[in-house]
Subunit: 364 residues, 2 copies
Amino acid sequence: MEDKRNNEFPESYPMTGGVGAYSYVQNSKYQRGYVEAAKEVIKEAIVKKFDINCLSAPLNSIFVADLGCSTGPNTFLAVQNIVDAIEHKYQLSEDRDEIPEFQVFFNDHASNDFNTLFKSFPPKRKYLAAGVPGSFYGRLFPKASIHIFHSSNSLNWLSRVPKEITDKTSRAWNKGRIHYTNAPKDVVEAYSTQYAMDMESFLIARGEELVVGGLMALLIASVPDVILSSDFTICTELELLESCLMDMEKVGLISEANLDSINLPLYFPSPKELMAAFERNRRFSIEGIQELGIQDKQLNLQSLTLTLRAGLGGVLEKHFGNNIIDEVFDRFSKKLATTPTLLNLNENQKTSLLFVLLKCKPND
Amino acid sequence: MEDKRNNEFPESYPMTGGVGAYSYVQNSKYQRGYVEAAKEVIKEAIVKKFDINCLSAPLNSIFVADLGCSTGPNTFLAVQNIVDAIEHKYQLSEDRDEIPEFQVFFNDHASNDFNTLFKSFPPKRKYLAAGVPGSFYGRLFPKASIHIFHSSNSLNWLSRVPKEITDKTSRAWNKGRIHYTNAPKDVVEAYSTQYAMDMESFLIARGEELVVGGLMALLIASVPDVILSSDFTICTELELLESCLMDMEKVGLISEANLDSINLPLYFPSPKELMAAFERNRRFSIEGIQELGIQDKQLNLQSLTLTLRAGLGGVLEKHFGNNIIDEVFDRFSKKLATTPTLLNLNENQKTSLLFVLLKCKPND
């Protein structure tokens, strides 16, 4: 199987850039919960599973990459935790007293706001830092050049909206919806097929780039393996957002054609689907998998609205133009206020955070 | 000697970002002349002097870095030329048939417009690409991790304005001038001392980062070794710019204190000064040094003004605020029109482009 260059994946869906009121920088506390939930688990995994001997002897530096880093600050917490864990591992080992240098690569789409990211690098960081623009569904790094990959909350973004669901002649045409939530089987299948293809591309690329013995720590929002079809409510917020857009279509603020053609490139796999993808690829051994509890899932009305806007505002703006975005999220916030139980994500959201640890095996 | 982290050099003087009428992207044809003048010389130097055996056997990738890359497009020409030269070298060699992968690092200050740079990466490039924000006067890369460094037209920027020249109590106070052109000896010495310190920091950092046998190709605007003191007119444009600012001070558009405190952090060393810096450092062998001729130095009035504005507009804006910049360059352009011989840089500019090739020696 040929691996792909990252520029073969031209679509991108960056978080809102800058440091303003609607930016991801200001509105990523929810995603910070993901990073914090995983902190100890990743630390322990690295101390237990990272093989110091996978370093190239003459080089003796450790190369870490965070895939889908956005504009910070969560990415800095995540990589600092990894660096601390490896340092701790060196301190525990007897025969290695010199702690190596670290180079950390921050990856996201070229349309991500790297200027903001670079200006907010922690001044006293213990690593050398670089930014790597491009889609992680293609190749980003030279062969066998990375020791640890990390990705939090990013592998739920598809490389693109599945083709069929915007094709009026297809059985999978997703008319009147913005996602596969509550959609017919053909739509759901188009999404899951796209996810399987994307994960294949992802694993082929990372299998080339990781050193043998290198680790990959992935945090992926996931749905249970067994769910009733009547119960396919993975994202209550997306349903609410969809209903706001439909209301706007009804009063003529959005055209029907424009509503029919918007689809969010988000997918929430089940653990079974993920396992199947890893097993098909065969380059990685599964060293650990577990569901993580997120403390304090309770968000308030404003922060949930702003979090969703920082994440999806860019996609909506690209499709509808920027003059309706305020209206969309005003309506969202008002609807949310009338259904306050929605704010308790513990009760209402069936997605959970899955932690997966993979290790790169030698080439067959 | 301890090497320094790049965040110990907080000052930065980026070229004008974006892709607008005053951007470096639109106004860097003059600097492109530098890259083109060096093209064949660098190609030949790499084919002759690059040691394929300096690659780490298990890695077999080649790591190239351009220091002071700005926003493009010149940096892309420069690195493509290097990649082509190494590929050519591999094609000539008998025992190596597999051409390695390339990773190219584009470095500039964190305040550089990396968003514009990343969006303009050549789509069909033959290398994997990363951006490295930070001052090249400090450490940017892990030890022994780079095979070829390149820098064009960037090592004329000091890490900072020399302290003494903004100190009213110092003999080197540079009252009424924006540079060391036509300045007393103490001012010139403060600049040359700063340059020597900066070059020392630069060479210590690069000596750590280059692999043994790795190359460094530097293009530096330079003045002749022997110049008459009455003839110390290295930058006619800077004198003209200075006179515009003085005129504006006279009519009250700029305060005297504000004019006295602006100084451009630019220095043009002589070959002798550079040689002395390389010899003090002792980590590099000098594999080549030559003066390059730039074809077509003739610029027109508008392009010279825009080139200078793209390069110095940011420094002036930071100091004076953005509401006088149009006026400064309007006046500059008008003055230039009354002295058209200035446009013929071949006649009027005593700086020339120096190409230096250094090779990293084993540690003592």
